[in-house]
């Protein structure tokens, strides 16, 4: 993928760029909003990673200008610590996702991949599947290798989330945001517990593991 990172702090920017390059992306790193705007408008990027606070033109203004000009490239906005208002403002200005600083690189990378492969038009799917696992969204039933699995509502939602994003890592925070709908970290192992319960039902009785743990990042179902 071709990515644009606009980050005024050279050290942070360099780390992000290097990390993303190591994952096989092509990365352009720019330090000011003005240059960023020019680059974003001229280049064809798959995802833009914008810092909220930038010298000259800040990230939010940049984003608004881009959206105003009809540029629909997915944007991940990096914002200051815990700024609840920032998040709302950012999403309102047209950001597709939001990440509060300081973040772990794994989180950033997972969110960038999630953005890039966002389905353009949501088709109404009724059956999701991975290997020999099948999830019927209409009857809300799950079978693996023809064996019916009995899942609790939250386990079902968790599995559905992972299946819909097959092949993409989902971090703990992303799961808390989407499956539990909470924007803060409760500091508990609720995600781990549900993953392990889900594994006990989905993976344990079978020889092949579907739900993978990605060290230091999160979970995924191989695509």
């Amino acid at each position: 993928m071709k990515l644009l990172v606009v980050e005024d702090d050279a050290t942070t920017g360099a780390y992000i760029a290097r990390g993303l390059r190591e994952e096989g992306h092509r990365v352009d790193l720019i330090q000011t909003g003005k240059d960023g705007l020019i680059a974003a408008a001229s280049g064809s990027y798959d995802v833009l990673i914008l810092d909220r606070m930038l010298p000259e033109v800040d990230g939010l203004t940049m984003l608004k200008t881009l959206r105003g000009a009809g540029n629909a490239t997915p944007v991940l906005l990096l914002t200051a610590l815990g700024d609840v208002e920032d998040r709302i403002e950012g999403l309102h200005a047209g950001a597709d996702d939001y990440l509060a600083k300081p973040f772990a690189f794994g989180e950033l990378s997972a969110r960038v991949s999630a953005l890039a492969r966002r389905p353009q038009a949501l088709e109404v799917e009724t059956v999701l599947s991975a290997a020999d696992l099948q999830m019927n969204l209409l009857t809300r039933s799950v079978t693996r290798g023809g064996v019916a699995l009995d899942l609790l509502p939250r386990e079902f939602a968790l599995l559905e989330h992972l299946l819909r994003r097959k092949g993409r890592v989902q971090t703990r925070t992303m799961l808390l945001e989407s499956v539990w709908e909470i924007g803060f970290d409760p500091g508990t192992n609720v995600v781990e517990t549900h993953i392990s319960r889900l594994r006990a039902k989905v993976d344990k009785p079978f020889d092949r593991e579907l739900i993978e743990t990605v060290r230091g990042a999160g979970y995924r179902i191989a695509g």
Partner: protein, 449 residues
């Protein structure tokens, strides 16, 4: 309505008007009374002089017979309402247009007409012995009596308009000043409730002193706002300045951790450092969030939130941890939804913090009970535990940021959880109280419906 009347009644302009009217009335009354007294006495003197002159005229008569004739002649022309002439001749016969008699009730003047009517009214009389008889001349005081009515009229005509004008003027001024004071009061209310941008806008008809007070208050609010902004600026500057090094630290550590073997002493150290950085980030996040909550900014996003569902969701977040710690999470929730006006994310965080706090500060085997009840127009959330509790003297302090009980210095946590709870409760205008659960702590949050 009654309160409004009372407020106007108690206002300065009206009281002043009433006091002035009273004083004016009193002075007018006294001066009128004095001039009445003077006029009355001069009238009386004139009458007495007339009486003496009358008497002198009769004295000129040579004998009783002549006096009787004179009296008869004059009394025929005299109006008994104004002048009574009476002469008791030496023989006992009474001449004139009336007879003076006296009984226990005082003097009476009786007419000589056939009906023997008594003349009403006040008279001044002069009696003297004359040629062996007794002569009495009485003149009516009717003019003096009529004077009273004149004076009362003067009083009414001069005082009534003054009183009416002063009172209505006072009332108008009082209502206006009440209105102006209300404007000032409303602005002050907004300032105390955290809206430091509130200002007093004086109207064109405001009195100068009120405009001056308003100006001074605005100045004060401006200074406070500037200070507050500077303070917030400092804290957000600090946060912004620390954000970058914290971000670098987090990324560098992550990079380092990636280069180290999965296990071993070095890996353990790196993991520990990453944990510390995560802890620092959490403290920062909480501090910044607190600042935002206290500024009251998320209020615009309030919607109907089902507190029962919030409690159920929070239970799910914590039940695995509680089980791991050997603690029990119990719930007592209504079957149906229980709605409050609020921000779901913040309410969720509030209940989470309360449960987390209870889990953290109670020993193994404790029971944490989350209750939700609908009580008299209020939704009452109660998170109770049967742990060691908080001493009564320290219950208020634990709500302060970064305050920790001595015995919990070594338990994890940063002393911001309950401050955040207090801030969220404050934002929702809910009443937060910490009570003794005997044993344990009971935190009650009472929401208005």
């Amino acid at each position: 309505m009654i309160a409004g009347v009372r407020r106007i009644w108690r206002s300065m302009p009206l009281r002043l008007a009433i006091m002035l009217v009273g004083l004016f009335a009193l002075v007018s009354l006294i001066s009128l009374a004095a001039s009445y007294a003077v006029t009355q006495s001069s009238f009386e003197q004139t009458i007495r002089a007339d009486l003496r002159q009358d008497l002198a005229g009769f004295r000129a008569a040579p004998n009783a017979r002549a006096v009787a004739l004179l009296i008869e002649a004059e009394s025929r022309e005299a109006d008994p309402q104004r002048l009574i002439l009476s002469y008791v001749a030496p023989g006992g016969r009474i001449y004139g247009n009336g007879a003076i008699s006296r009984d226990d009730e005082g003097f009476h003047i009786v007419s000589f007409d056939r009906n023997r009517a008594e003349y009403a009214g006040e008279y001044l009389s002069l009696t003297d012995a004359l040629h062996g008889g007794v002569i009495t001349i009485a003149r009516s005081r009717a003019e003096i009596v009529a004077l009273r009515a004149v004076f009362v009229n003067i009083l009414l005509i001069s005082l009534l308009p003054t009183v009416l004008i002063a009172l209505s003027g006072g009332l108008i001024l009082a209502r206006r000043s009440t209105r102006h004071v209300e404007v000032v009061g409303a602005a002050l209310d907004r300032m105390t409730s955290g809206d430091l941008a509130a200002r007093i806008t004086p109207g064109p008809r405001w009195s100068d002193d009120l405009v001056q007070i308003g100006g001074k208050l605005n100045q004060m609010a401006g200074a406070q706002e500037a200070q507050m902004r500077a303070l917030r600026g400092v804290s957000s500057d600090i946060a912004h300045d620390l954000k970058t090094p914290l971000q670098r630290l987090a990324l560098t550590l992550e990079d380092l951790r990636g280069r180290l073997p999965a296990e071993g002493e070095q890996a353990e150290l790196a993991d520990k450092m990453q944990g510390e950085v995560a802890g620092m980030t959490r403290v920062f996040q909480s501090l910044l969030q607190l600042a935002q909550l206290e500024a009251g900014s998320p209020k615009a996003r309030f919607a109907e939130v089902d507190m029962a569902q919030v409690c159920r969701d929070v239970r799910e977040l914590f039940e695995a941890d509680a089980a791991l710690l050997g603690q029990t999470l119990v719930q007592d929730l209504p079957e149906g939804p229980l709605m409050v006006q609020g921000d779901r994310a913040l309410l969720m965080q509030m209940v989470s913090n309360l449960v987390e706090n209870a889990l953290r500060h109670t020993p193994q085997g404790s029971e944490i009970n989350v209750q939700l009840a609908d009580a008299e127009e209020r939704v009452v959330l109660c998170v109770a535990d049967n742990g060691p509790g908080v001493p009564a003297a320290e219950r208020d302090k634990v709500l302060e940021r970064l305050y920790r009980l001595d015995r919990s210095r070594n338990t994890p946590g940063h002393g911001l959880g309950l401050s955040l709870v207090a801030a969220v409760a404050g934002l929702h205008e809910a009443e937060l109280t910490l009570e003794d659960n005997a044993p344990g702590l009971r935190v009650m949050v009472r929401f208005m419906r």
